[in-house]
Amino acid sequence: MANDNAKLSKNLLRMKFMQRGLDADTKKQLEEEERRIISDEHWYLDLPELKAKENFIIEERSFGPCEDLKYGRMSFKGFNTEVEKLMIVMNAPNEEELEEEEMSRMETDITDEDMARRYESLVGSMKKKFAKKRERSVIEDVNQNATETETKRAFLKPQD
């Protein structure tokens, strides 16, 4: 049982129970050394590093993107309705980007204002549904005079 770490062999130090007490830094160093040992044993070609030449000139063979050619199937005056639908779909990917902002608003079935109005009334009706019977009548009479509700409901003795 040696006291200095230097007298312990490397294999012993690499064992799991010896590594639990180490810091993260020393662990990393040990890992790197192991990797170096492994990579030294691997065979490799002793050639200079070849860098792929960056190509700044790109070749492109087709006329399509050069002149922005349209879709090849066309139909005029409603001869083939499916092809006319296709024409709109295929020819418009560039135009759609500009119109997307407008279109996203138009696509909703009701406008935002209608939605707000509806929601207002919805809140009122849902509240009524879950209110107790006495509160329900209060809510209904909200628009009428408030003086009627001020009288407290107490037991009225019969006069006779």
């Binding site: 790109i58 070749e59 492109e60 063979r61 050069c66 879709y71 066309m74 005029f76 779909v89």
Partner: protein
Amino acid sequence: MGELQRVYFRFCCFFLVFLCHIYCFPYQKCTFTDMLSCFKDKVGDVLLPGDVFSFQMPESITDSKPEKVVCGPGLRRNGDEVLVCKSGILRHKQPNLYWIDSQQRRYVPGKGESVIGIITAKSGDIFKVDVGGSEQASLSYLAFEGATKRNRPNVQVGDLVYSQFIIANKDMEPELVCIDSCGRANGMGVFGAGGLLFKVSLGLVRRLLAPQSEIAKDLEKMFPFEIVVGMNGRVWVKSKTIQQTLIVANLLESCENMTAQQRQTLFRRVADGSI
């Protein structure tokens, strides 16, 4: 003049033209940063095959990253040089696309182009399609919308297909598909019961498919008909009656060599008169 003198005269003319070409438009040498300005100077000029744009890479590329240049049809990369291989006018499109605008009738398959093909043979899992190129293209039977191994598409020999190239280069056999990358047909596949298929030049095809095509606008006003235009110069037309189909086919074939005015007068005459 005697025969020999005529030959000598012709040779001298040719030599003079050759010399002019050599000295008036020499080897274009520019640094990489000037490359774009070299190109830009020549936009709109007529270039001949053999003209070269050569670039010298700067020693240190750390400071300014050189911009990419895209060479379209008619321009070819040769190491660090760009060669012109077709005669025509140099065109430019933002941001960095240059190409040579030229005319030809012979089609060379290019990747991504939509063409009209004729099925010539069925062999095992693929169809052989004639696209008008130097060799026949292959079209797999699974490359149709909704096709599986059990559910084969209904394609016969002699059918017309509108399809796209996925492989088209000089080293490999061209391959076609009738679906896009999402698996949808988008109008591709077998078409055309009836109608007429005829051949036009590639320049007319480009004029027909241009974004603001005047020919297409003129055609719209005529009568209802349907047309499929393939980039390989093949056009298929179908209309209500055979006579109308033939009229449209003849109009398109004659559009090639007419000015815009002549074409419009012709179309107007057809629309008014002889239907």
